[in-house]
């Protein structure tokens, strides 16, 4: 899994790419969230535009990240879902949990 971090104002944008799957990607996103919170960045936007697959462990870790960030008084939102990743969020009904955006400016304005 690949990742890149950008800070825009108070929001941390974490761009993810490749597979968020068991044993690698799931652990990595936990580390990225921990790092953001350590940097006092509580408003976090996952850019999933280059993510090719998310397995149940990856989805589970995203949910755990959402819970962690929310408990710290922050918000975790998603941006640029591919049709397949959108399908996965739909069938797992996590689309009702996460706020999802197609446009970065709109996403940043929502925090």
């Amino acid at each position: 899994m690949k990742s890149n971090i950008r800070d825009v104002g108070d929001t941390r944008i974490i761009e993810l790419g490749g597979k968020i799957t068991i044993g690698t990607g799931d652990v990595k996103i936990r580390e990225l969230i921990s790092e953001a919170l350590d940097d006092d960045k509580k408003d976090i936007l996952f850019d999933l535009g280059d993510v090719t697959a998310i397995d149940s462990s990856g989805i589970g870790e995203m949910v755990a990240c959402y819970t962690t960030v929310t408990k710290r008084g922050g918000q975790l939102k998603l941006m640029h879902l591919s049709p397949k990743i959108n399908d996965i969020l739909q069938v797992t009904q996590l689309i009702t949990v996460f706020e999802v955006y197609d446009d970065e400016r709109e996403a940043l304005g929502s925090f």
Binding site: T21, I22, A53, D55, S57, G60, A64, K84, T92
Partner: protein, 152 residues
Amino acid sequence: MNANAKLRADLVLASRFENIEVAERALVDLCHRAGFADDEEYWLVTALREAVANAVRHGNQQDPERLVRIAYTIANSTVTIRVEDEGKGFDPDDIPDPTDPENLLLPSGRGIFYMRQFMNRVDFGSTATGGTSVVMVKDFASNDKDRPGVSG
């Protein structure tokens, strides 16, 4: 898809997460040889990865000395994948519905749901030594259009 494709492969893997990639590559190769569309292959791979991940983590407890056996069969429009572990077995009915609102924020428990969502049939049983055997079937000729990955 090539309607006359009849393909079969067997794989035996040590219980390591990185071997999920090996299981995936074998399936992708079979899908290419069978002439499946990218979307059909994608959801098959998604279900396979969950079954192998369960075998490695929950069945074999990530003990690399324990093996995961995978049998792939593609006959006409039907794909059958059997995954066996050397664990102690489990009751799939013990897994709560991950889409129940009270379970939505649980960090685990979605693997079997994934498999059932992306395949037409998922049956659990026991191996001769008490491990778990899961058989997943996808028939691309079926008319189950409500599920992702089903092109109709």
